[in-house]
Amino acid sequence: MSITVKNLRVSFDTPHGAVEAVRGVSFTIGREKVGIVGESGSGKSLTARSILQLLPSRARMTADELSFDGIDILATRERAMRRIRGKRAGLILQDPKHSLNPVMTAGAQIAESWRAHRGGSRRAAMEAAENLLEQVQIREPGRVARAYPHELSGGMGQRVMIAMMLAPDPEFLIADEPTSALDATVQAEIMRLIDQIASERGMGLLLISHDLPLVSHFCDRVLVMYAGRVVEELRAGELGQARHGYTRGLLSCLPSLTHPTARLNVMQREASWLA
């Protein structure tokens, strides 16, 4: 199982002409944990969504190659795409408040995902849902399965999202800012859970985030994106050796608990980074 992306470009038509948001991104991911880090507007989410053909309808995508386990995504129609999307490659979104259905119980949503990909009776799907909730370390799976999203905390909601995504037993997992709507302690718990599940099931993981230290914790390597391009690729343990000005800027503008400074470094953006 591997994902290959070659010269991916995503553009949007605007009244002032086409704007290219992703400008020639290439990478290959196997059964490993890879992070894409960048600021808002860097094209990191569009890159990840291209793999699942989940771009906004206004977006135009081109690539020399875009394949999932040998399947050419560029040539795949919507029907065939559904056998990959969700089933073989799961997606976890940022904010459980917005991405869970507010009028369905957590259990029903997980069961729906289970039945859509695996079939079976409603009863079996509900049992599977409770089992999945247990796997994402929810202590009272029965109670949570019957709860509506507004009755759950942010961390709980994100666990439900993960359980839903695990239902079809995917081989690959895309997590798009899975913890940025959560506070620091819950953030760590959810990341640890995703990390553990990916390791146990031998899944590939693509983690999209703006948080470089967090990503480097959980990934084997990190792609740094700036203005639609991958400007640097680093092994997670080698952040200190980052060469690109943008990566170094990202690291140096973080406040530190142990090394307080009166003023934080501010990123000085250079025109050459856009080239």
Binding site: D183, A184, E189, P213, M267
Partner: protein, 272 residues
């Protein structure tokens, strides 16, 4: 100048039958910055909102500059105490220009020279004058948060309540906004009360902070003591450890040797 600017004693906030804040007491000295940290649901934002007058269902004593606060506030109170919210996408009126957004507090509080004050406010938060007649959706997140800060400062308040002012921003923008807040506090002698969950951010701006768990303050500690690990409560220690472990990952940013030698997976297990 010295003295207590914000004094909160035994504050309790109810939401129906749930007591979200259960007897919280702290003092903020004039001209200093004080942080409230804790997990979501710990009641830290409820303290801020009760203080700001956004929630009138509270009991206890709250004083600003020695004057007791009542559930209903005078207009003058809102001039002296302003709030900056977490999400600059939600806290600015989408159908109003920046000019209109900034002029409203001036009109409400009967200020003169509105035109000059708006120009100066934009200048103070380093926004170009050309932004003045734009709408919020035409601005980036960092620019919007600058507008929100300008709006809070335009009525010349003495106290600023900051509710996670940078957690919706990119780290590079966060640095700019934190520097701006630090500069403004110094220039105007402002008193800050800041809510946050990122210890590195809160200790950067605040000299001392209180850790909240389940609606109660479990520890009040100076930022220096927290950095040095001189903490009493296990909750504070746990927050500190988490923050240190995350900070460890970026090592020495100036390109020096990274501070760890283990593989990434092992760090994750060790840290979390």
């Amino acid at each position: 100048m010295a003295g207590v600017m914000v004094d909160v004693q035994d504050l309790r906030v109810h939401f129906g039958s749930v007591e979200a804040v259960r007897g919280v007491s702290f003092e903020v000295a004039r001209g200093s910055a004080f942080g409230l940290v804790g997990e979501s649901g710990s009641g830290k934002s409820s303290v801020l909102r009760a203080l700001a007058g956004l929630n009138s269902d509270w009991s206890g004593t709250m004083r600003v500059d020695g004057a007791d606060l009542t559930p209903r506030r005078e207009r003058a109170f809102f001039r002296r105490l302003q709030m900056v919210f977490q999400d600059p996408y939600a806290s600015l009126h989408p159908r109003q220009t920046i000019d209109r957004i900034l002029s409203e507090p001036l009109i409400v509080h009967g200020f003169d020279e509105i035109d000059r004050r708006i120009a100066r406010a934009l200048d103070e938060v380093s926004l170009p004058a050309g932004m003045r007649f734009r709408y919020p959706h035409q601005l980036s997140g960092g620019q919007r948060q600058r507008v929100a800060i300008a709006r809070a400062l335009i009525s010349e308040p003495e106290v600023l309540l900051l509710d996670e002012p940078t957690s919706a921003l990119d780290v590079s923008v966060q640095a700019e906004v934190l520097n701006l807040l630090a500069d403004l506090r110094e220039a105007r002698g402002l008193t800050y009360l800041m809510v946050g969950h990122n210890l590195a951010v809160v200790t950067h701006l605040c000299q001392s902070l209180a850790v909240m768990v389940n609606g109660e303050i479990v520890e009040t500690v100076s930022s220096d003591d927290l950095r040095a690990g001189r903490v009493q409560s296990p909750h504070t220690a746990a927050l500190r450890d988490l923050s240190l472990d995350l900070a460890e990952a970026h090592g020495e940013p100036a390109g020096a040797e990274p501070t760890f030698g283990a593989g990434p997976g092992e760090i994750a297990r060790r840290a979390l």
